[in-house]
């Protein structure tokens, strides 16, 4: 059970669960609060974790979306995420994983280069979102976005699957041919 699998349980009734993984506890908590404030037809559940694998002692519902939060100011958060990625089943990356980068606003404090995270997201074929989680308005907007994504990943939006969403989120700034 150390590897996280997308369809390991039956879903809860009208429930959508998101897992936020990152070393920045305060930011994760604030993001979780913003998400729970959002108006949503489905019942939202937000789980927070510093890293994977998750402790197997806890019973948790089926996870619909994993968001890895990386802080550009700390190399530690990047390394943490890179290691956690090894505990995720490959099928999760079919639209149910997303990377969220914070701290890009204060260029002087950044110890990780932007292109590093871009490459990481590209390697794992997952969408990369930028947001300064410390600023309330940006956080609220990002929370809205994540709630919509979560609803789709949980299958609550008829006609759109997580994979469809992935194809739609293909960003234009992919470092394409050189890397391949």
């Amino acid at each position: 059970m150390s590897v996280l699998r997308p369809m390991d349980k039956l879903p809860g009734l009208n429930t959508a669960t998101i897992l936020l993984v990152g070393t920045e506890d305060a930011l994760l908590q604030q993001l979780a609060d913003s998400m729970l404030k959002e108006d949503c037809a489905s019942e939202l559940k937000v789980h927070l974790a510093n890293s994977l694998p998750l402790p197997s002692s806890v019973t948790r519902p089926r996870i619909d979306l994993i968001v890895f939060v990386i802080n550009l100011h700390s190399k530690h958060s990047l390394r943490n995420v890179e290691e956690s990625l090894h505990h995720v089943d490959a099928t999760f990356f079919l639209g149910k994983v997303s990377f969220l980068v914070t701290g890009a606003g204060r260029e002087s404090h950044c110890s990780i280069h932007r292109s590093t995270v871009v490459k990481l997201a590209h390697t794992y074929r997952s969408p990369l979102l930028f947001c300064d989680l410390e600023i309330e308005d940006f956080r609220a907007t990002m929370a809205q976005r994540l709630v919509r994504m979560l609803q789709i990943c949980a299958g609550h939006v008829p006609g759109v699957s997580a994979l469809n969403l992935l194809s739609l989120l293909r960003s234009s700034e992919n470092p394409s041919l050189e890397d391949l």
Partner: protein
């Protein structure tokens, strides 16, 4: 008989309702069973983790497979409807109508408030326009009045004033002259010719004497005709005592170098 007729009707209604419910519940149960089957199948699939080097390729291959599968699923599938019996239709219809009504009410209230605001704006602008027009009218009236007055005044009034002034002055001048003449006649008459001189040999060539009035007239005219040389030569027609009178009272002045010439004192300067 009627009661009996009613009763079977009501029971069929209840049956209809329960039928619809049961149908829906049955459908749900079927779907849940399908899901459980799928879940069982899924749990049999092994796990696979990725490393940075193989991630891209494996994921791309997986994505291709899954998208193809989804595509074929969409193509196979025909839209499945929930059982369309009366109850369901009525409920759905009610919901749709409620939503529609709510939206229309919103639109209505928005338009009403816009309408009111426009009316208020219109009233305000209308009032403002009326006031402005009134001001314009009154200004026009004042303007025309002033225009008239200016024209009339600057011409006739000044003209009339000047005329009256001139007339008055002329009258006054006449009066003064008449009064002066009378005064002079009364108090300074010409000497009597009939006064006989004792010494006959003193031939006083008594040219025609002129009155004091006339002497003054000559002096006056000379003063205003030739201001730079107001002197008049004393002629024989001037009666000497009167000349002395004029000189002694400062009415006339002698020429500083020529004793035979006198002038009128310039009282007006």
């Amino acid at each position: 008989v009627n009661q009996q007729d009613l009763d079977p009707d009501s029971t069929t209604d209840v049956e209809d309702v329960t039928d619809a419910e049961e149908e829906l519940i049955k459908k749900c149960e079927e779907m849940w069973k399908d899901m459980e089957e799928c879940q069982n199948k899924l749990s049999l699939v092994g796990t696979e983790t990725l490393t940075d080097s193989n991630a891209q390729l494996s994921l791309l291959i997986m994505q291709v497979k899954c998208l193809t599968a989804e595509l074929s699923q969409w193509q196979k599938e025909t839209p499945e409807m929930i059982p369309l019996n009366e109850e369901v239709l009525v409920t759905l219809g009610k919901e749709e109508f409620q939503k529609l009504r709510h939206d229309l009410e919103l639109v209505l209230s928005t338009i009403k408030s816009k309408n009111e605001k426009l009316k208020e704006d219109l009233e305000r602008e209308q009032k403002w326009l009326d006031e402005q027009q009134q001001i314009l009218e009154s200004l026009n009236v004042v303007h025309s009045e002033l225009k008239q007055q200016v024209v009339t005044f600057s011409e006739s009034r000044v003209f009339n004033e000047l005329k009256t002034k001139m007339r008055d002055i002329k009258e006054y001048k006449e009066k003064l002259l008449v009064t002066l003449g009378e005064f002079l006649e009364d108090h300074f008459p010409l000497p009597d010719r009939s006064v006989k001189k004792k010494k006959k040999n003193t031939q006083e060539s008594m040219a025609q004497l002129i009155t004091l009035h006339e002497i003054l007239e000559i002096l006056l005219n000379r003063l205003f005709d030739v201001p730079h040389d107001p002197y008049v030569k004393i002629s024989d027609s001037f009666w000497p005592p009167y000349i002395e009178l004029l000189l002694r009272n400062g009415i006339a002045l002698r020429h500083p170098e020529d004793p035979t010439r006198i002038r009128l004192e310039a009282f007006h300067q």
